[in-house]
Amino acid sequence: MSLSREQMAEIVARDIPDGAYVNLGIGQPTLVADYLRPGSGVVLHTENGMLGMGPPATGDEVDPDLTNAGKQPVTERPGAAYFHHADSFAMMRGGHLDVCVMGAFQVSAAGDLANWSTGAPDAIPAVGGAMDLAIGARQVFVMMSLFARDGSSKLVPECTYPLTGRACVSRVYTDVATFAIEPGGVRIVETFGISDEELINKTGIPLVPSPFA
């Protein structure tokens, strides 16, 4: 009964307000675009210098000068605007984006985000725009499976992986539950085939049950 990636994307899309300016991170978060209601007026930002990004380009639409942050060809919507990298990151860092959606290795109960490095000693580090997005957007949504391959929870009391940003995540969308990180603690918003008790046991966090459970 756990959710597919597409179902998770649909749930994230549901929580994005009409007319919001949104950055969808590389990978799984790009799926969210498919579930934005036509006419929602949501405007997509890509950190390599564009507002008003459209769907992936196919066939003749492919233009090597028009790509998203994952370097894949995309299209342009009416009302788009281009700007350079310093302006694009000023927009992010200045708190003008309403929402960004990112993947994660770990999220802590305090909303700390770890999504750029596993800290493995031989890994080649790469951070891209993740740290700028983490501290920049008004709301940072994380989309991830709740459990790693070894069964351990990726929502954790404290991150053990190197941080991307501190106390920046507001919502965590997983395949088995959605969490809200709030001043009073981590609240279970919704569950998909898992009990509150199991979530509390596996995350090791004193989760606040959903009032609608």
């Binding site: 007319g19 919507r77 000023a90 927009m91 003008h96």
Partner: protein
Amino acid sequence: MTASIMSAADAVAAVRDGDTVLVGGFGMAGMPVDLIDALIEYGATGLTIVSNNAGNGDTGLAALLAAGRVRKVVCSFPRQADSWVFDRLYRDGRIELELVPQGNLAERMRAAGAGIGAFFSPTGVGTPLAEGKESRVIDGREYVLEYPIRGDVALIRAHVADRTGNLVYRKTARNFGPVMATAATVTIAQVSRIVEPGELDPEAVVTPAIYVDRLVLP
């Protein structure tokens, strides 16, 4: 959110008593005259005005000052041949002035819009305008630490907007508009014309719609 098209009167109702209001323009070029007139009419008071100048003649900013609505002016060049309204208020001690070099004024608003906490500027070092400010020598050159200037509301004038709020300007009337648009919680742009999304060249948009909340036609 997509910009709303409003009357000047409705738009300036975003201003509250005690707010900091960024006002575009360099002299009359880029001055949002209709928005200032609406603000005078509206009556918010105790304002801090951030603008390059402090009003000319008896209209616009000068009229706002004359109406007693302004507590403080942050600007680079208050004294002009026809700045008698400001001059009188200042000499009478009825208005506060923070004098900021023009480039620091622009950069401090840019910092506010860009999420920069503070920056070391070479402008003003060794002058009375740097007195009391933190300074530091970096790579053999002295700098003064300058902090962001944020606005509650920005009143700017652009040339053409599209319906979502993308803006283009005209010639040197561009001046402070684009940077003020980034630095305020609510940005109100007075424009000459509003077109459909897609009618402005996306390569030539100067202020992306993300920075614009309200559009006002003449």
